[in-house]
Amino acid sequence: MKKIMNKAEDYVDDMLKGIYAAHPHEVTYVNKDLRCFVAKATPGKKGKVGIMSGGGSGHLPLFLGFVGEGILDGAAVGGVFQSPSGKQIYEITKAINNGAGVLYVYGNYNGDILNFEMSTEMAEMDDIETLHTVVAEDVFSSPKGAENKRRGVAGMFFAFKLAGAAAEKMMPLQEVKRIADKTCANMRTVGMALTPCIVPELGKPSFNLAEDEMEIGMGVHGEPGISRTKMAKSDEIVDQMLNPILEDLPYKAGDEVAVLMNSLGATPKDELYIMYKRVDEILKAKKISVYHVYIGEFATSMEMAGSSITLLKLDSELKSLLAAPANSTSFVQMQLG
């Protein structure tokens, strides 16, 4: 197994030690638990809603890299592809609560849901109000009509960004949740994978794809997709990914969107841009205009090769929140023009 690591069982904690060492002015932890990850500026502005996420490790920059100004206030860290505990979520909740309650924004995975709900129960004892926005935008993970069973993937970034911007504007908890939910309702993702990744403690790939195969719709933990086929040309791959996205919401002529082109890890930016060439062609043909394109690594699966496309339909409210500046260790944005 070619991973730069020490002992497999120290993978997550060594990574966390590295993060705290690298960014001592930006992030820290609470409750003497490395896995209770918060912005250095904790507690934040009095009366600002706290925004937190959390979930399994192995998806950097997801969660941790987005803790900072104008985006997340904290993130609970689980083992690789494992949920953090309700207690850890609860400890962060207490730390980032500035008297206005905390919004949990996380992906639609069983373990995460159960633990965030356990935390909510604990927080109730302290009279801290918590609300949940469960992100579930992966089109191929469950059919239309059963959207609530869909997985949350790279689109989580958009939910963090807009909820964070809303909180920064001192909106109350209910309003921040409304923004996060609206973001989720207006976005869709489709992913594809080319190679598996290895969970350090397991030491071997969780699935196999032949040297000339790809899988459309595969989840970030290797959950089965909807079709395994021979490698196709980029333009054809994008057609297979983007058209189902467009039909699902649906996105229509005249809509304005933000696009997120995400690498699962090993796929280089070169290829994301080659894909975007086709995305641009299709959106132009459908008269859907693009406000801003985010491209790179936002939600990865360690060294997995593959990518995902996310579309977020914007109205003026979402657009102004998307445009707001943010400053975290993995995502920095100046005010968009």
Binding site: F81, S83, G86, K87, N110, L114, M118, L202
Partner: protein
């Protein structure tokens, strides 16, 4: 014969031993449509919590079980870890105030396991989860909680085994297995197997 805190400490250790024994079986079941961690997380949940609780000076059996659940949830925050933790916490709530328990109190325990998990996970019977074993077991005790510890668990072991078998016919609606849709039919549910192991072990414990 009534059970004291000391008995519960022994029972916890016994359950932890059983989970270790079934570790590989659970890993294999969870590998079919899951992430292969169930054997590891169950072993961890039970071994960490049972060990931690040995030093407990708690005399209230309800509080003792609640704390066991808390320890489980920190040790193994997977789906099943969190659900089993919620189960023990609810069982603890149901038994709060008791410093010893009679055989018929197993009803409060079994109902607690069931309710803790149903409230946390919102699954209903037939959705191929641990609930499909916990519900009939609790129902059996609600119908009849007579007899000795040994007699009670002999009955429950049979109920649990039949209920577990039925999960093979169901289509998964929760967790990773749900992504497999119809393909999940025919396979025994991994989580339900955990419930079966618990009841079977309790039955063995009282046989010995």
């Amino acid at each position: 014969m009534n059970l004291s805190i000391d008995d519960y400490k022994k029972i916890l250790l016994y359950l932890a031993g059983s989970m270790s024994e079934h570790k590989q079986e659970l890993i294999e079941l969870d590998s079919i449509m899951g992430d292969s961690d169930l054997g590891l997380t169950m072993e961890k949940a039970f071994s960490v919590s049972s060990k931690a609780m040995q030093d407990s000076t708690e005399t209230d059996i309800g509080k003792f079980l609640f704390q066991t659940g808390m320890a489980m949830s920190e040790a193994a925050p997977s789906s099943m870890g969190t659900l089993i933790a919620s189960a023990f916490m609810q069982a603890g709530k149901n038994l709060k105030g008791k410093t010893e328990t009679a055989p018929e109190d197993w009803k409060l325990f079994a109902v607690g396991l069931r309710d803790g998990i149903v409230n946390r996970g919102k699954a209903v019977p037939g959705e191929k989860t641990i609930v499909d074993v916990l519900v009939p077991v609790a129902q059996a005790l609600e119908n009849d909680s007579s007899g000795s510890h040994k007699e009670i668990f002999e009955r429950l072991e049979t109920v649990a085994a039949e209920a577990l078998e039925k999960t093979k016919t169901m289509k998964a609606q929760h967790g990773r297995a749900a992504y497999f849709g119809d393909k999940s039919i025919g396979v025994q549910d991994a989580g339900a197997t955990v419930a079966y192991i618990i009841y079977k072990s309790l039955s063995n414990y009282f046989k010995e």
